[in-house]
Symmetry: D2
Subunit: 344 residues, 4 copies
C-alpha cells in the first residue's frame, strides 16, 4: 500500500538529516540564537532580495498562523479568510483561542479570496458592535491546491494597503505554488506585496519548520516574546535553522517542490488521458480528480488517499497529494491500475 494522503508521510530530505548529524555535537546558543538559525535568516533575506524583513523559525503552520495573528491584532480586530481557509476550519479554533474572530468569506472551488469578497465583509462590519476586520488571510497554494497569480496578489495587496488591512499569506505549500506552471510570482515579490508570510518547510522536505517573514516594520516589534509565550521557541532552535539552511543554501527547496509537482502532473495527465475530469484545475501537488466509484474502489486496494466530495451517484472527487518524497514507481503503479480499470 502506498499513500497519496498527504505531503508529510515521510521524514526529511536526507541532506537535512546528514547536516543534523554533521553538526550534532557543536555547542550552540539556545532559543534560535545559534549560528545556523542566524545564517538561515540571512540566507532567506538574500533569496528574497530584501534585507529589512524579520525572519523567525517556528514548528508548524497552526502555530505560525496563531502566533503571527495574535501578535499583529488588537483584541477587537478580526481576520478575514476564505470559508475553506485553514485557520477557519482545520486549526481547532486556534485563532479564536487567542481572542480573534475569523470572518469567513464564501469562496469558490479554488479557495481564493477576492477583493469583492473582502469588500463585502468590510461593508458588513461598519461599527463597534461588530469586530473590526483588520487582517486578510490567504494561502498559496490554497487549501484546494489553487495558485495565486501575481496580478491577483497585487490586487489584494493594493486593496489591503488602501483599506488599512494587513495581508498575511500562509505558505504551508509555498514551494509547490512557486513551482507551479501557472505561477508568475517570485519569492522576492512577496515582501513587496504582503505584510507577513511564511515559507513552509514541513510539507516540503523538513522534519518540521516554517519560516515566518515579517515584512511590515510595524509588526516586527517584540515578536520573540510572542513566540516564547506561545511555547514556540525551541531550546534547540538549531533544529529549524539547520533545516532551512539546507533547503535554501542551494536550490533544494524549489527542487523538492518541483518534484512534488512533477509527480502530481504525471498523475493528472494520465487521469486526463483516461478521460476523467477534475474538481479544480490540477496545478500543484494536490489534485482532485473526479472518478467513478468502482475505479476509486479498485485504487483503494493499493493506495491510500482521501475522499473529498461526492459529485453524483456514481462519481466522487478524491484528493491525491504528492510530495518531495513521492516515488515515481508509485505514481506509475497508480496510473497502471487506473488504466487497467478504465480499459475494463
Amino acid at each position: 500500500m502506498y499513500s497519496f494522503k498527504n505531503d508529510y508521510s515521510e521524514g526529511a530530505h536526507p541532506q537535512i538529516l546528514n547536516t543534523l548529524v554533521d553538526t550534532n555535537l557543536v555547542q550552540e546558543e539556545g532559543y534560535g540564537e545559534d549560528r545556523y538559525s542566524l545564517e538561515a535568516a540571512e540566507l532567506l533575506k538574500k533569496k528574497m532580495a530584501c534585507s529589512d524583513v524579520a525572519v523567525h523559525f517556528l514548528t508548524g503552520g497552526t502555530q505560525t498562523n496563531m502566533i503571527a495573528i495574535a501578535a499583529f491584532l488588537r483584541p477587537h480586530e478580526a481576520a478575514i479568510a476564505a470559508h475553506t481557509g485553514h485557520i477557519n476550519v482545520h486549526e481547532t479554533g486556534a485563532i479564536e483561542a487567542t481572542g480573534h474572530k475569523v470572518l469567513a468569506v464564501s469562496s469558490g472551488k479554488d479557495g481564493k479570496l477576492t477583493v469583492a469578497g473582502i469588500q463585502a465583509m468590510l461593508d458588513a462590519h461598519p461599527d463597534e458592535h461588530m469586530v473590526k476586520p483588520k487582517l486578510v488571510y490567504i494561502s498559496d497554494t490554497t487549501e484546494n491546491g489553487a495558485v495565486y497569480t501575481k496580478s491577483e496578489l497585487e490586487a489584494l495587496s493594493s486593496f489591503c494597503k488602501s483599506h488599512q488591512l494587513y495581508l498575511y499569506l500562509d505558505g504551508a505549500r509555498l514551494g509547490s505554488a512557486l513551482s507551479s506552471p501557472v505561477n508568475d510570482l517570485e519569492l522576492s515579490d512577496l515582501p513587496k506585496l504582503v505584510d507577513a508570510f511564511y515559507i513552509g518547510g514541513t510539507k516540503n522536505g523538513a522534519l518540521l519548520g516554517e519560516a515566518l517573514v515579517i515584512c511590515n516594520d510595524a509588526l516586527k516589534e517584540d515578536f520573540r516574546y510572542l513566540m516564547k509565550q506561545k511555547g514556540a521557541m525551541l531550546a534547540k532552535g538549531r533544529l529549524t535553522g539547520i533545516q532551512f539552511l539546507v533547503l535554501f543554501r542551494d536550490d533544494l527547496y524549489s527542487d523538492l517542490a518541483a518534484h512534488a509537482n512533477a509527480m502530481a502532473f504525471k498523475l493528472s495527465k494520465a487521469i486526463q488521458d483516461a478521460g476523467y475530469a477534475f474538481l479544480t484545475p490540477p496545478v500543484s501537488n494536490q489534485i482532485f480528480p473526479i472518478l467513478p466509484h468502482d475505479v476509486i474502489e479498485q485504487l483503494r486496494r493499493q493506495f491510500y488517499f482521501y475522499d473529498w466530495e461526492q459529485i453524483d451517484a456514481d462519481h466522487s472527487a478524491v484528493r491525491l497529494v504528492t510530495s518531495w518524497a513521492t516515488k515515481e514507481e508509485a505514481v506509475d503503479a497508480f496510473i497502471e491500475t487506473l488504466k487497467a480499470k478504465a480499459v475494463n
Copy 2:
C-alpha cells in the same frame, strides 16, 4: 571555549539521529498517530507500570506546561508555584496568556514548594473576589537543581488530594532528578502521586520533545484538541515518538541523565576539595558554587557559564550545567583551571 551554560547546547544523542535516518522514508500517519508514537506511548506506560495514563508528546516545556494547565483549569482557577518556578518567571506569561493567574509562593533557596506554603495561599484566597487556587505546579529537579524526596512528594500529593487541588510536576529535568543520589522516587511512583507530569526529553538527549503523562482520568478528555489548538501537534509526530522510543527502549534515558549527574558531581567534588561552598547542595546536573570573583574571571576565559547571584563584594554564585553530552575532558580542564587558580 567550552560551555557549561545549559543542557541544550548540542543536538541529540547519536542513537536518536541514527533511528531518524533509519526510519526516514517509511510512510506514516501524521499528527501523532504514527506507529512510533503509539509504540513509545505504550513503552512509557510499561516503564511506569501503569496502563491507564494518557501519554502525549509535545515539543518543549513551556508549550507542555501551558497546554496542560489550560486544559485542566476553568477560567477562574489559578496555579500555585514557587516564586522561582519556571511558569512564574521564565515562560513570558504563557500561563497568564491562557487566562490563568500564577500564585507565587516565596520558596527557599531550593525552589521547593511545601504544604505550609500551599496552605497559606489557600487561606489567602477564601472567596470569589479572588482567583481559586486549583493546581499546584512543582518541578523536579527544581529551577535551582534541588530534588524532591518521596516523602516530600507524598506530603504534597496527600495535601492536594484532600484539598481538591491538582498536582502537576514539570519534569524538564526529571532524568537528572531520578538519577540523583538523594532521589528515592521511581518513575512508577509518579502516576500514583501526581495528576499529571512530563518527562523531559529536550534536556536529556532529544532534539526536542516532552512526554506529558496525564494520570487523573478527569483530566484526559479531549487533550488532543488542546494540542492542536495551541499549535503543538506536529504533522510529523513521528519525530517526537521516535525519540522517546529510542530513549526508553533500553536504559538510554537514565544512562544519559546519570552521565550528566556524574559530570556535575565530578565538578562539585573538585570545587569542594578546592575549599569552596555551594549556594544549594549539588545534587543534580545544575550546581551553584560560590567562587571568588578572580577565580570566576579566570574560568570565564575558557568556559561559558551564567552568573547566578552576588554573595558579597568578593564572591558570587555561578551556575554550571552539565548534560548527556558534556565531555569529561572539559570537566577536567575546568577543574585544572580552578585548581591552578586556587593554588595561586
Copy 3:
C-alpha cells in the same frame, strides 16, 4: 420626532424608579448578596416553579452571553448559532475574545436554528483538527422577531440532550416572546428544556439587568467567580435585584411585554390593511414591513426607525420596534402618516 428604533430608548418603568427611591438609604450587603437580589432570585424560582436553578443578575446581554458561555465551555469547545445570531454578529467578537469559536449555521429569514442545521454542523466537525461543537445558542424572540414554539424548542432540547450539547437561550426579548400570540411556552417550561437561559430586563422596562438562570447542575459551580472576573459583579447589586423584584412581584414583566406587543400589532394591522407585506410574520415587538421608498421617506420625516433590507428597486423592509414605553399616540400618528401617504 418619535423613535421606533429600539426598545431601550427610555429609562425604566416608573415603579422601578419609585422602588429604587424608596429603598435608597437602606444599608445592604454588596456584590449581589443584598436582600433584594436574594428575594428576587427566590421569586424567579417560584415563577418558574423550579427551586433547583441558580439565578444571577447581570447588566446586559453581551455580558451575560459572554460570561455564561465562557463559564460553560472548555477551551476547544464551540458554540453553534444562527448566522444572524447576536453572538455571531453584534457582540464585537465577545465569545471569541473568551477563546471560543462561534459556528454559524445559515438560517432562514426567521433566524431560527433547526435540528437539521445543528446536525450538519456536527457532521462537519468530526475530529480534533476542528473545534468541538458543544453549546447551541438560540434567542427567543430571534434577532428577526420570530418566536419559538414549544414543539420547536422540545425538538432542539431533545436533540441537544442526546448529543451532549448544552442548549442556551438568549432571552433579551423573552418577555415579548412569551406574550406573543404564536407562543405556547410558559416560563416554567424553560428550565426543563434548556441548560441555561436569561430573562431580559433591559429591553422590557429595566434600567439595566438580565437574570441568568442556570438549570443544569453541572454548569452552576463557581459561577460568581466568573462574574467577578469579567467585571460583571456590581458593588451595588441591589440595583439589578430591586428591578427584577419589581418586574416579577406582580405581573409587571408580562404586562410590559404585552403592551409592547400590542403596539406592534396595532402597527402591523394598519400596515397590512394598507396593503403592505412583511419580511417575516409580525409576531413580536419587532416587525419588518416592506414599504415603498416614497412611503418610507414620508415616514422618516416624523419617525426614527432602521432600514433593514432592500427588496427591489422601489421597496425596502424597515424595522419597527415597540417597547413597554411606546406611546399609543405615536403609533396612531405613524398609522395616520402611512394611511395618508397610501391614499395618495
Copy 4:
C-alpha cells in the same frame, strides 16, 4: 446595627435618583451616545481643563481596569502593581483572564508604588523569556487608604515616561483622595501626569459608574470596540451619563467625598483621643485603628466593620469605611460606645 463595612452599602445620592426620574421618558440614543453621556464627557473635560482626553463611562472598577489594560497592552506585556493592588488580589484574576501577567511589587503598609520598586521589577525582566513590564497600575487612594502627593505622582510619571511605561491610576476612591487634607493634587493635574485614569462614581454617590479618562492619544483608538466586546457598553448608557452629569455639574462629587472624609476624621480624632493608634495614618475615608479585642467585641454588637490584621494577642487593626451616606449620628454613636468602653 450600622455598617462601616464599605462605601457602597446605600443606593445613590437623591439628586441622582431625582434626575433619573426627571429624564426617564425622554427618548435617547443607546450605547453611550445619548445626550447626557455626551454632555457629561464634555463637562468632565472642562473640569479637568483638558479637551483632548477621551472619556468613557463604565459600570465598575474591575470592569474598567480589565478593559483599559486589555486595550492598552500587547499580549506579552504586563502590568506592575503593588502586591496589595486591587488588580493583583481582588479582581479574581481579571487582568490575567485577558492574558496579561500582573507583576506584584512588595509595597509598604500604605500600598504605594515607588520608582525604586518599579525599577527593580524592570531589572528582573530583561528579555523575551519573561513578560515585558509595560503598564504601571496605582490607585489613589490606595487599597490601604493612603493618598499620593503631587511630588510622588510626578516622580512616578516622569519615570514611566522615560521608561516607555504607561501610568494608569485607579480612581475608585479618587473623590476621597482629592478631598484629603494631605492631598495637593487637582483633578486637572491628572491628565498631565498619567496615561489614563478613572474617576470612581460607585463609591462616591452613584448607583454604579466609573468615568475612564484616556489621556495618551496612542491609547484612544477604538476603545468603544473593547467596551462592547467585554460586555461593558450599556444599552441605556444614559444611566451612567446622567449620574456623572449630576455629580459634576455643581460640586456634588467633591462635596460627597468631603463628607465621607469628615466622617472618617471625626472617628479618627475620637479614636486617637481615646488613646489608640492606627495601622496607617488616617487620611481618607478608610481608616485602620488598632483596638483591643474587648473594645472590638463591644463595638461589634452595634456596628458592622471588617477585621483587617491581628497585631498582637490583644489587639487587632480593623477597617472602618465612611461614605457620602454615612450618618453623623452613627459616627457619634460609635464614638460613644468606644469612649464608654475605653473608660471601663
